[in-house]
């Protein structure tokens, strides 16, 4: 997510789609169902900086629609997803939700990818009384808006993402605990707060900070930062990372031949396909991250989700991105509200979800008044080339391996 990267992107921003008029193939056709279809609109980034994650969100939404339609839809209504592209732009995302709500008059809306785009779009949804189920915008600014219609469909806010790692480390016997820690943090609303949260808890528990560095989004070369990390010889390295920067940090440490005893990367390391591909499968061993969905999860509808995913998109259950599971869970919530109340409209969704807990592929979810989920993530670790949940005991499928094996396995 580089910033210079937006340079010259005007082509996209000022007229790209003009050209499409010529080669468009007409609007999607509506199928004739006994009842009017339930149309759900969402704007995700299919081009631009957030494109890869945006596509994972889209995959999750569409998979849920297929699954629920195979079972007869929601209250007998066929679900139609209308997914549009926001080119990762804040102006386009506002326009898109305006159009979905006021032009196409969709029945419900789901959220976009990234907190940066979630804030403006959730305000548009609120203005027109729409519920805002959003699987990908959990930064502090989202909840600071205090919106009653917003529900973040993940187990916990982004800030709490690292808590489970801190919980586990602090649960270790004193002799096994790290004594020193280094923090490398991407300057970004989803990355910095995670590492800072862990740092506060570690420092309170007496784990000494020997190095801390915040780096800008366009950093491509991590050797400078990692040389300093290696020189500080921390027992634990906590990376507040996003994606490419996580791969860069690992590669750089491998080149430096420095392997910390514990290593936690908030994002990037939880990408089941990209991470081993970029850093080499053998180098993943022992690296930790956090997650909310895993193959063989016992959560509600998880088997069905995994099987449908592999059927529709190929691959194996080990290659399913959490982001798709989170998007799918937003759909499950709609299904459950409809089943419980026998109605499906925005006021019902908002009123109903504020009460009780709701089973999804991510586990049981519940929210406070401003849409902050009150659960927690699971600690996941790379073991034998796979991501497995290792803590807390309730969801663990294996014992955590510590210290982390040396590079190369």
């Amino acid at each position: 997510m580089s910033t210079n990267n937006r340079f010259w992107r005007a082509g996209l921003a000022t007229g790209a789609a003009l050209a499409l008029a010529a080669c468009s193939s007409g609007a999607a056709k509506t199928t004739k169902a006994a009842e009017a279809p339930l149309v759900i609109g969402a704007s995700v980034s299919l081009t631009g900086d957030f494109a890869d994650s945006g596509k994972a969100v889209k995959a999750g939404y569409e998979l849920w629609a297929d699954t629920v339609n195979a079972k007869g839809g929601v209250l007998g209504r066929t679900v139609q997803m209308k997914i549009v592209d926001d080119t990762s732009s804040p102006n386009q995302v506002v326009t898109n939700y305006q159009n979905l709500i006021n032009k196409d008059k969709v029945d419900l809306v789901f959220g976009p990818f990234s907190s940066l785009l979630t804030v403006p779009s959730s305000q548009v949804a609120k203005r027109y009384g729409y519920a805002f189920l959003e699987p990908a915008g959990g930064g502090p600014a989202v909840f600071a808006q205090k919106l009653p219609n917003l529900f973040f469909v993940q187990p916990a806010p982004v800030v709490k993402q690292g808590d489970v790692f801190a919980d586990w480390v602090l649960s270790l016997p004193a002799a096994q605990r790290p004594a020193t820690a280094a923090y490398t943090e991407l300057d970004d609303p989803f990355a910095t707060p995670v590492a800072e949260d862990i740092r506060a808890r570690f420092e309170a528990a007496g784990i000494r900070t020997v190095y801390k560095q915040v780096y800008p989004a366009e950093t491509q070369d991590f050797s400078t930062i990692m040389t300093k990390v290696a020189a500080a010889k921390p027992d634990v390295l906590v990376g507040g990372t996003q994606s490419e920067d996580a791969y860069g940090q690992v590669k750089s440490l491998v080149q430096l031949k420095f392997s910390p005893k514990f290593m936690f990367l908030s994002n990037g390391a939880n990408s089941p396909v990209e991470f081993p591909d970029k850093v080499g499968a053998a180098n993943t061993a022992g690296i930790m991250s956090s997650g909310d969905w895993f193959p063989a999860s016992k959560a509600h509808g998880s088997d069905e989700f995994a099987a449908a995913y592999v059927k529709k998109y190929g691959g194996t259950t080990d290659t399913i991105d959490n982001t798709s599971a989170e998007a799918y869970a937003a759909g499950q919530l709609v299904e459950e509200v409809a089943a419980k109340t026998g109605k499906i409209d925005n006021a019902t969704v908002i009123a109903t979800l504020h009460q009780g807990t709701w089973p999804t592929v991510l586990g049981d979810l519940s929210w406070d008044a401003v849409g902050q989920p009150s659960g927690s993530f699971a600690l996941i670790q790379w073991q034998n080339g796979k991501l497995v949940p290792v803590y807390p005991a309730g969801v663990a499928q294996a014992q955590p391996v510590s210290p982390k094996p040396a590079w190369g396995g």
């Binding site: 082509g11 000022t14 003009l18 050209a19 080669c23 549009v84 592209d85 808006q145 300057d187």
Partner: protein, 310 residues
Amino acid sequence: MIRGAVFVVTLAVLPLLGLPHWVLNMLVFVLMFAALASAWNLVGGLTGYPSLGHAAFFGIGAYAFALLLHRQTEITDGWQPFAWLPAIGVGTALIGVPIAAIAMRTRADVFAIVTITLLFVVQTLAFNLHGLTGGAQGLSFPVAPFPADTFERPFYYVLLGLLVLAMLLTFGTLRSKVGLALATVRGDEDKARGLGIPVGGAKVLAFAVSVGLTAMVGAVWAYYQVGIIYPQFAVDPLVTIAMVLMVFLGGRGTLWGPVLGAFVLETGQQYLAYELGASQFYLIAYAMIFLLIMLFLPRGVLPSLAGRLR
């Protein structure tokens, strides 16, 4: 003159016709970019100095606005924050004066690069001056308290006002001595200087007014962006490039060219990006059309068409 009056009156009554929100929302963005493009035209079109740094001033306006409201917990009168606009415009214009005085010593192509450099300096500052701007975490401020039914109207009319201001300035400049001076700068700067035309003052003035207008639009944008601004969106090279493309498409140095460019490009992009979604082919198709316009209408739509008709 009559054409101008008809244009303004038409736009002024549009929101009262009960248009749906999505149309008004799109018009807000169109007016925003029409005002920006007209502002850019004062420098890029009239003097021929292609500034690529205007997004820096757009961002300065947006951050100035957010900082002024940052400490408030809520806004009781939604119109009141607009009262800051003149101060933001004048303040930014004053910042623009020394920058122009220095940067305009270079040739036009180097000027383009100096100004884009300025843009990245301002963006880096927005990211790194955490105490002032909140850095990458964004800078939040209260949401405008306008009722949902007429939410777009205030933004619409303020932006229309800024567009009219920019167009009046363009119109006045084209007819005035300053305009004459600027036209000679664009034609042959050294010759103009030799003839004793106050070249330096004219182009610095044009730059200052242009960036002041840009900053005011940036402030309105921040207000419309409901609640929080981030460095990469507030100081966004994309905004600069949009201004440049719109002016080039419509016709450099003309009164109506930037407006036409903004109406065509902004509606085209917003509407079609929404309707047609994402296909990797659209970049290719867009680039092709872009190339064709440049090859066949190199002076922009209005001047080229006028040339053909003559």
